[in-house]
Amino acid sequence: MKTTSPQFLPVLLADDDLDDRMLFSDAISDLKLPIDLQLVKDGAELMDYLLTSAVIMPEILFLDLNMPRKNGFECLEEIKSHPTLKEIFIIIYSTTESEKEIEDVFQQQANLFIKKPNSFTELKKILSHVLTLDLKKNFSNPTKEQFIFQIKSHS
């Protein structure tokens, strides 16, 4: 485990897609935000990381939904029913357009839903918005409208 200075925001991305992990970390480093990013490549590894090997508990978890071994829905449920892990701010990061899936994760108390964007510029825009907001203050009890993230409503 990397040691991180306390002013760095610990962020975790759980995504089985190699390209998406690369794009995500490239975007973070391009933005030069004070962020310590950890990557896990599926739900099982995520739970393993959170429950055993994490040195610093992530404050924000970007969670993909469609993953092998353990999917995002299962992880979300486990995390939100865990006494300490439930404090993690969870951002669903997925390509899904299914209203039912979005409603499900909303009901499961995920904090924000971000649809994977179609361009790198867009991704950087979204991340710079999200990661500079006071998330805990703005989204700890989001309405359904706030839940589905749109850059328009925040700019």
Binding site: D19, L23, T95, K116, P117, N118, S119, F120, T121, L123
Partner: protein, 420 residues
């Protein structure tokens, strides 16, 4: 003419009975013994009546009668015995039900004889008429039976064909659904790699574009525009395939605010094209708003897109309610409410008015007007999902009018909810 057989051993009796009956126009056959009578009856059965002398040598009248009635074919011929006095033997014939039996006592009263004979002859005639009628009836019945059987057979055939048709329709619907499901899955999975192509070509452009010459940058642009076109295509196929997969929920909805919502969505392009759009008061209809919105979106968007250069689009959405042509019962007419979307755009040749609703059918080059060729196919599918139909009228340079016809459902049958 009724035939009567007269049996008497005495010629003078035969003569006198004949002379009594001849004027009535009967055909009289004479026999002078029981034996001869039997001989005649071997060849002829069609006697209306037998007049039989009882007292005859060798074979008496009663014995002759017994022999006659032994034969099935003769049993229906009534016999009048002519006798001098009453005999106990008269009772012998009471058991015969088929042949009517009567008696005339000597000396013969001519009026009584004529009366009795005419009664029996009349009976015979009536019987014959009845038999003839019965036979006719039997023949008619047989024909009817044949007809009924034929009808039953053809009905069964029709039923079978109907059943096969229904089964085929079911199969077709299932196949269509499978196809849609396939299209949905395929297009859904195609989106992922396409998103990557988009993201990486954009990165390539923004991060390394400066190291490329003009051609290189042009190629990247081509990749990007092809990608976004493919994305639009996949998105439309997804929407199209989702219509039949998703369960549609119909609610009575006021169409006026729904269309106004759509106009709101189209704000930018309306402003850009300086379009004038009027929406008349539209009716409420039992529809799925989630499908009806893209329907109006596509149609109005088309009107905006295919507008004449330098002439601002004028679009009108209006209605007219009318009874459908296919009236089923007198009381229950199939009502359709028709909604028109008319524009002053470039129009198209009327011959294409049906083809334009086909999947991927386009009348214009991609360079002239962008499009996936799915929009109107989507519109058609949406309208058909509502058991309605859509048509278009147009001429080149004359604008076009699209007509949506939706069935009007009785208010009590539809959901009571009203969304406005």
């Amino acid at each position: 003419m009724a035939k009567i057989l007269i049996v008497d051993d005495r010629e003078d009796n035969l003569m006198s009975i004949s002379s009594l009956l001849e004027p009535s126009g009967y055909q009289l056959v004479k026999a002078n013994s029981g034996r001869e009578a039997l001989k005649i009856l071997l060849a002829e059965y069609d006697f209306a009546l037998i007049l039989m002398d009882v007292q005859m040598p060798n074979l008496s009248g009663f014995e002759t009668a017994s022999l006659i009635y032994e034969r099935e074919k003769l049993r229906h011929i009534p016999i009048i015995f002519i006798t001098a006095h009453s005999h106990d033997e008269e009772n012998i014939f009471k058991g015969y039900k088929t042949g009517a039996v009567d008696y005339i006592y000597k000396p013969i009263n001519p009026d009584l004889l004529r009366a009795k004979v005419s009664v029996f002859v009349e009976l015979y005639r009536k019987n014959h008429q009845l038999i003839a009628q019965e036979q006719k009836l039997i023949a008619i019945n047989k024909n009817l039976e044949i007809e009924i059987n034929e009808r039953k057979n053809s009905e069964e055939k029709i039923k079978l064909l109907n059943l096969q048709l229904l089964q085929n329709i079911d199969k077709l619907e299932a196949a269509n659904k499978d196809l849609d499901r396939f299209a949905f899955m395929a297009s859904h999975d195609l989106q992922e790699p396409l998103r990557k192509i988009n993201v990486f070509s954009e990165r390539l452009d923004s991060e390394y574009g400066k190291h490329l010459n003009e051609d290189g940058r042009k190629y990247i642009n081509r990749i990007q525009s092809a990608t976004s076109r493919l994305q639009a295509l996949i998105k439309d196929i997804l929407t199209f395939s989702k219509i039949s997969i998703d369960k549609t929920v119909f609610v009575t909805t006021d169409l006026t605010p729904l269309v106004n919502d759509v106009l709101h969505e189209l704000e930018n392009i309306i402003e850009e094209k300086k379009a004038t759009i009027t929406v008349d008061l539209l009716p409420c209809a039992l529809i799925n708003p989630n499908l009806m919105r893209p329907l109006f979106y596509n149609l109005i968007h088309n009107s905006l897109k295919y507008s004449k250069k330098d002439i601002p689009p004028v679009i009108r959405v209006f209605t007219e309610s009318e009874s459908g042509e296919g009236k089923k019962n007198k009381g229950e007419s199939n009502k359709y409410c028709r909604i028109f979307i008319s524009d002053n755009g470039i129009g198209f040749e009327q011959v294409f008015s049906e083809q334009i609703f086909d999947m991927f059918k386009r009348l214009h080059n991609q360079n002239e007007y962008e499009g996936t060729g799915i929009g109107l196919a989507l519109c058609k599918k949406i309208v058909e999902e509502h058991n309605g139909f859509i048509s278009a009228k147009s001429a080149v340079g004359e604008g076009s009018t699209f007509v949506i016809s939706l069935p009007v459902t009785e208010p009590e049958k539809s959901a009571a909810k009203i969304i406005s």
